[in-house]
């Protein structure tokens, strides 16, 4: 069983987001982590591998520092890592998916896993696009995955309940919270990770140039959420205060 996991390095969930002088998100000095949903994907890949035999390859599109997230996956138990560094160009979901699909196109695989979304831009598009480009089925927001005899039974969240889907492999799946509890890398895993292959590629190495992946969507501007206003306490008798509250909600907040 050959399993590929697409993973992204994202800002730490506790990172304080600021904008630089050009109005872009400041990434200097921010600690980076593996996208938490991708951790579920890596864990699931390892569990599938450990049930029988197989090989787990983690793939990321990103700068050189993305190696940290890939190494973490290697330390958890993945076998190989591939990093495609697109250089200093702006990417959108189309670009990233195109690079991933092109890279994966040259590899063998039965299962592709990824997080259902990244916690930074939250677009929830990349793995679906990759599957489309590779012309394989994709099952999203999966909370349970069983693999048997060239098929997969995937349980996914739907409004108000869950749905079980059977698909033939190869197929792609995106992980939702609840799929599993990711392991911590072990000390032996950390030592082994150093010796595992990390294949670093450029765009040219995967047969693409910047024009082919030029972003179709551009962010015009970023803004930080407004600082939360202090709450308002309405003094007085309960009945009077309630009246005043209703008035404020209608006239000032305009929510009722």
């Amino acid at each position: 069983m050959k399993i590929l996991v697409c993973l992204k390095q994202t800002f730490d969930t506790e990172a304080k987001i600021t904008l630089d002088s050009n109005g872009k998100i400041e990434s200097k000095g921010v600690s980076m982590i593996m996208n938490p949903y991708d951790e579920f994907a890596v864990e699931e890949a390892l569990r599938i591998k450990e049930k029988g035999e197989g090989e787990v390859t983690v793939i990321s599109v990103g700068g050189q520092q993305t190696q940290d997230a890939l190494r973490q996956a290697l330390a958890m138990g993945a076998d190989k890592a591939v990093l495609v560094d697109p250089g200093e160009i702006e990417l959108d979901e189309f670009s990233t998916a195109t690079v991933l699909a092109k890279t994966i196109g040259g590899m063998e695989y039965d299962i592709i896993l990824g997080g259902f979304r990244a916690i930074d831009d939250g677009s929830a598009q990349v793995v679906g696009r990759v599957a489309e480009l590779l012309n394989i089925p994709v099952v999203n927001v999966v909370t349970k995955l069983e693999i048997e005899g060239g098929k997969a039974l995937a349980t996914r969240e739907v409004e108000g309940g869950s749905e079980v889907i059977e698909v033939a492999l190869p197929a792609a799946f995106t992980a939702q919270k609840g799929l599993n509890e990711p392991r911590y890398p072990s000390m032996k895993g950390i030592m082994k990770a150093k010796k595992k292959p990390m294949d670093k590629k450029t765009l040219a190495d995967v047969g693409l140039d910047e024009n082919q992946i030029a972003a179709k969507v551009k962010a015009l501007s970023f803004s930080l959420p407004e600082a939360r206003q202090a709450g308002k306490v309405i003094p007085g008798e309960a009945a009077e205060a309630a009246k005043e509250l209703a008035r404020l909600l209608r006239e000032e907040a305009k929510v009722i």
Binding site: Q72, Y184, M187, I190
Partner: protein, 379 residues
């Protein structure tokens, strides 16, 4: 000089911090209140390989260096000093002497299960009348046939009662004083080996501290660790390394209290501003950060010296002395920054200040560290 951690040292920090924050931190307060450790954490640490960090893989260890080990103890202690000392006493005080002085047989029999976390280890050196003067132990070991018969008691033993394997220092020849001592590996459950009083402590309250009692306890002759007559020497060499563990624990406690204090100072408002905008608080934070960094450099240097096979007795004493006094000072300031809240159990700095004190006492008091440093300078 290169002030940069290796890739695996960075990774162990990140991994252990993640584990400590998610799994250990929520339990630190409740375990302190209950004066009981939750050993499901031990099982998780064993699974991760944190129970045998600096030992070769062939003996069940992770095959990492002592700096990795120091970083792991630091990160665990940053959220829970009791967890830090559990790993530190187990690794430095029990597993290490077996690794360093043990025969191949002893290593496979005892180090293997210790390093892979099946078993917990402890060291029994201190006695009621032999504390700083550890060479004056009164517990006796008398050879009778193929066994040594142990009699006496040990006090204040970390991991006591919970540990499965104990390295015990006893006197085999009273007339020779500290040169008439030997180290023994004693298994829990050996007839004649029981546990006395459990200590109720100021800090590290989740750490188990017990009296060990030996009454005609028969230990096979082959369980002597190293040579007869070398017990005290083995203990001293063990403590040289153990001090790196305790220095790391102290460093972690200080860092934990500092991180809490910084966070709190930014959100607490008095006089219409955050207290971090007052110079009085800023200078405290600056001094705390500076001392912590100095402690870290001393601790990492001691670990580095040990890793590179150089003498480290003086440097580990310096690291332990400075880091423990730094921990006491920094935690006191952290409580100060929290004001009245810092004095209550609502916030972790109250526990951290209580936890810090022990680092100035065990594995050689601050006075004993100064004796060791001075002896190295003047020799």
């Amino acid at each position: 000089m290169i002030f940069k951690l290796s890739e695996e040292q960075e990774m162990i920090r990140k991994t252990v911090r993640d584990f400590a924050e998610k799994e250990v931190a929520p339990k630190a307060g409740p375990m302190d209140e209950a004066e009981e450790f939750d050993y499901s954490l031990w099982d998780q640490m064993a699974e991760m390989g944190l129970t045998g960090i600096p030992f070769p893989e062939e003996y069940g260890g992770a095959g990492m260096d002592n700096l990795c080990y120091a970083i792991a103890v630091e990160e665990l202690s940053r959220v829970c000093a009791s967890t830090g000392v559990l790993i530190s006493a187990h690794t430095s005080l029990c597993s290490w002497p077996i690794y360093y002085f043990g025969t191949e047989e002893q290593k496979h029999k005892y180090l293997d299960p210790l390093a892979n976390g099946e078993k917990i280890g402890a060291l029994g050196l201190t006695e009621p009348s032999a504390g700083s003067d550890a060479g004056s132990v009164k517990t006796t070991a008398v050879l009778d046939g193929d066994e040594y018969v142990l009699n006496g008691s040990k006090i204040f033993i970390t991991n006591g009662e919970k540990a499965d394997i104990y390295v015990v220092i006893a006197s085999t020849d009273k007339t020779k004083g500290s040169k008439g001592t030997a180290a023994f590996i004693v298994e829990k459950g050996t007839p004649g080996f029981t546990f006395g009083k459990k200590e109720h402590k100021m800090g590290i309250r989740a750490s188990s501290t017990y009296e060990l009692v030996f009454e005609n306890c028969r230990v096979p002759k082959e369980n002597m660790l190293g040579e007869d007559g070398k017990g005290f020497k083995i203990a001293l060499m063990t403590l040289d390394g153990g001090r790196i563990g305790i220095a790391s624990q102290a460093l972690g406690i200080a860092q934990g209290a500092f991180d809490e204090a910084v966070k709190y100072s930014k959100i607490r408002e008095q006089f219409g501003k955050s207290i971090s905008s007052f110079q009085g608080i800023q200078w405290m934070l600056a001094d705390m950060a500076t001392r912590i960094d100095a402690a870290r450099l001393l601790v990492y240097r001691a670990a580095y010296l040990k890793d590179s096979g150089q003498p480290y007795s003086k440097e580990s004493a310096m690291a332990k002395l400075y880091a423990s006094e730094c921990a006491m000072w920094v935690t006191t300031k952290a409580v100060q920054i929290f004001g009245g809240y810092g004095y209550t159990r609502e916030y972790p700095v109250e526990r951290m200040m209580r936890d810090a004190k022990i680092t100035e006492i065990y594995e050689g008091t601050s006075e004993v560290q100064r004796i060791v440093i001075a002896a190295n300078i003047l020799k």
